[in-house]
């Protein structure tokens, strides 16, 4: 072994030692910092939404710290987050949650991106009684397991498109409608499907096509051929960004005429930008839109949040970022009301949260889901070649009228 290698090895071991001593010195509250832990998908298939989530968290941490921080027992504290990259892998996420709690001594957690990863982490935080406020796991099954330390600022997945069916029935003069639907076979999309089944039952509507899209598939021509043949009143599609992009591309190519098209993930897929006019009239479920009139003292209104976020990160905030920022506001509020760093006291404070943020009203139901905020629907509308998402439902927030029915392809330019 030559000198250089020896030196190198010594250096490496020195750095490792140093790092390990740093990480053990972190605790739940470190000097003037309240340390939160989060496993986020910075690489892998969820990395774009993972980054949106992280940006949302960071933006809120900066803002809260700048505006005085969190006051507990008369002393001001600042937020700090330890991030790990979970590689979009549920197993890894669960390991990292263990590591955050056992090695880094984190006592409060923020959620990862996606329902699947939240599902992987929730049992861990529950086991160690660590309160977790999550902003990106909407799957209904998260809220039926009786978790006591899980709080979600977003509406559960089954509510995503229920409103759309009500809207279709309303447009049909209160009479039941015929629904065609295609959902990806994953926890989230299947929950959206359950919501539609509920809505169909409630309104007496009939489901005439009920297809499941495999995860690896990017072709739904066969489903659309059936839609063409059966002429339903509503077509519902949910399959993350790939589903949304595939649906719009093939509906336009096959000239499928349906009076109403309802989807999820339109904004994450940047539908209006990637597909332009082809995506016009698509109706999309969203957790948040900047035009809603909620506000709080940290971010002001949604529009102001949109501006500030653009200035800081250079792109318009998707709802994934907005809800992540809201999670920090919830934590701050809970710490101040608990006036303590005791995990169970913070949890009890979280449980009775009732507040308004720029993102919406937040109040947790018995399962930990947010029950105070309705989902909104927007519709893609185009002027010339630029297309935009306009809020059309619920009527209270609507900036534009819902356009129904969608004109036939032969009449569209």
């Amino acid at each position: 072994m030559n000198k250089l290698t020896k030196l190198f090895i010594t250096l490496i071991s020195a750095i490792t030692l140093m790092l390990s001593s740093i990480s053990t010195s972190f605790a739940k509250v470190d000097g003037e910092y309240i340390v939160l832990g989060a496993a986020i998908s910075l690489t892998g298939k969820y990395s774009s939404n993972g980054v949106h989530t992280q940006n949302g968290y960071n933006m809120a941490v900066d803002r809260i710290n700048k505006m005085g921080g969190v006051e507990v027992q008369g002393k001001k504290y600042k937020f700090e987050i330890i991030y790990y990259d979970d590689e979009s892998n549920p197993k890894r996420a669960a390991q990292l949650a263990e590591r955050l709690i056992n090695q880094d001594g984190v006592k409060y957690m923020l959620g990862p991106y996606s329902s699947g990863l939240t599902k992987a982490i929730a049992p861990v935080t529950e086991k160690y009684k660590i309160p977790m406020v999550e902003a990106n796991g909407a799957s209904r099954s998260l809220f039926t397991k009786g978790y006591k330390y899980l709080f979600a600022v977003l509406s559960p997945a089954n509510q995503y498109l229920e409103v759309a069916i009500d809207l279709a029935v309303e447009k049909n003069g209160g009479k039941p409608v015929r629904i065609a639907q295609a959902f990806e076979q994953d926890a989230f999309s299947q929950d959206v499907r359950l919501g539609i089944l509920d809505a169909a039952k409630r309104t007496g509507s009939e489901i005439i096509i009920d297809d499941k899209l495999p995860k690896e598939l990017n072709d739904m021509a066969a489903t659309l051929a059936k839609v063409k043949a059966t002429k339903p009143d509503v077509l519902v599609v949910s399959g993350h960004t790939k589903g949304a992009l595939t649906a719009i591309r093939q509906i336009a190519e096959m000239k499928v005429d349906v009076p109403m098209l309802a989807m999820t993930h339109c904004d994450a897929a940047k539908l209006s930008k990637q597909h332009g006019k082809k995506s016009e009239y698509a109706l999309c479920a969203s957790q948040w839109h900047k035009n809603l009139s909620y506000k709080d003292k940290f971010f002001g209104t949604g529009k102001k949040y949109d501006r500030d976020f653009k200035k800081e990160f250079g792109y318009a905030p998707p709802y994934q970022s907005a809800e992540s920022s809201a999670a920090l506001l919830v934590f701050k509020d809970a710490f101040e009301r608990a006036n303590s760093f005791d995990g169970d006291k913070v949890r009890d404070a979280l449980k009775v949260t009732e507040m308004q943020t720029f993102y919406g009203n937040i109040k947790f139901g018995p399962g930990g889901q947010n029950t105070a905020k309705p989902m909104i629907l927007f519709q893609v509308r185009c002027k010339g070649d630029t297309c935009e998402n306009k809020v059309v439902a619920p009527t209270k927030w609507a900036s534009d009228k819902f356009f129904h029915p969608i004109p036939k392809w032969s009449e569209r330019s």
Binding site: K45, A182, D211, P214, E216, N218, K270, H275
Partner: protein, 286 residues
């Protein structure tokens, strides 16, 4: 019905192109390339990058294979030449590793968003609008067929083509007769990558791109090759179209959730049938 058949055939032609590349390098080099699908997606991203730069993505079917040929060549020189004479298992492992590296690199460079390139080719209507054919799909089928024909002619007529065929038949004999097999292998892998590049560019304008969707293309081409056998282009084309047709019909009749399942059932059925026929043949010999 007509709709499903046409969709299936157009899709199948595209699969056949990818499968032909696989059959070629499998036959010549005895390597099963797990990274096949990822080469396809990389080719797609090349076309998508052109689209972002304001060039019509259809030009990708010319640019992408050229770039991909060199990618394939480089891959051969870096990795494949070390595993080409080894056990099949080692080459599977090596290409599996390449697949993972490619996925992560694409994710790193192009991001994890699902993207599409717009060809704006419009749609052809048949039978009073009841059957629609996206022109982009027709375009992709035509391009695939043209390239396949060009490749067949090249294989038959050119010096390199003959060298490749000779190597496929008997690498040792070819070497003794003065064929530079090393070069032939590199060229074969390059041609395979170029075919993937073409297919990828076509997928960018007909379907969607994502760094992690390569595997289904690998599996399908693998299947087509198994069914058709190595070095049998017409069979590859027919079984490619057959697979496309079968998929669309399974989707249409059984429902989308059974599509992939039906494909695998078909694979099992064909393998069992082949074995059955083979054992009959053996009985004659006895």
């Amino acid at each position: 019905m007509v709709q499903a058949s046409l969709d299936g055939i157009l899709l199948g032609i595209l699969f056949a192109l990818i499968a032909y590349g696989m059959a070629l390098q499998w036959g010549v080099m005895n390597i099963i390339n797990i990274a096949q699908g990822d080469l396809v997606i990389l080719g797609g991203y090349i076309a998508y990058t052109m689209y972002l730069a304001g060039i019509h993505p259809a030009w990708g079917v010319i640019v992408s294979p050229i770039i991909m040929f060199f990618v394939g060549w480089a891959l051969y020189k870096l990795v494949i030449n070390k595993v080409v004479d080894r056990d099949l298992f080692i080459s599977i492992l090596a290409t599996f590793g390449i697949a993972i590296i490619f996925q992560q690199l694409m994710n790193f460079i192009f991001g994890a968003d699902v993207v599409v390139a717009q060809s704006e080719y419009g749609t052809t209507m048949l039978f009073d609008n009841s059957v629609t054919l996206p022109n982009s799909k027709i375009f992709s089928a035509v391009v695939s067929i043209l390239y396949a024909i060009a490749l067949v002619i090249y294989m038959k007529k050119s010096r390199l083509g003959r060298a490749i065929r000779a190597t496929a038949q008997n690498a040792r004999a070819a070497k003794i007769l003065g064929v530079d097999t090393e070069k032939v292998y590199a060229a074969t892998f390059g041609i395979n990558a170029a075919l993937c590049g073409i297919a990828g560019a076509l997928i960018a304008i007909t379907l969607t791109l994502h760094p992690y969707v390569g595997l289904p293309y690998t599996v399908r081409s693998f299947m087509i090759v198994i069914v058709a056998g190595l070095g049998n282009l017409p069979a590859v084309a027919i079984s490619g179209m057959g697979l496309g047709l079968f998929e669309e019909f399974a989707d249409y009749i059984l429902g989308t959730e059974f599509r992939i399942g039906a494909v695998f059932m078909l694979l099992v059925f064909i393998l069992v049938y082949r074995r059955f026929k083979l054992s009959k043949k053996r009985e004659y010999l006895k």
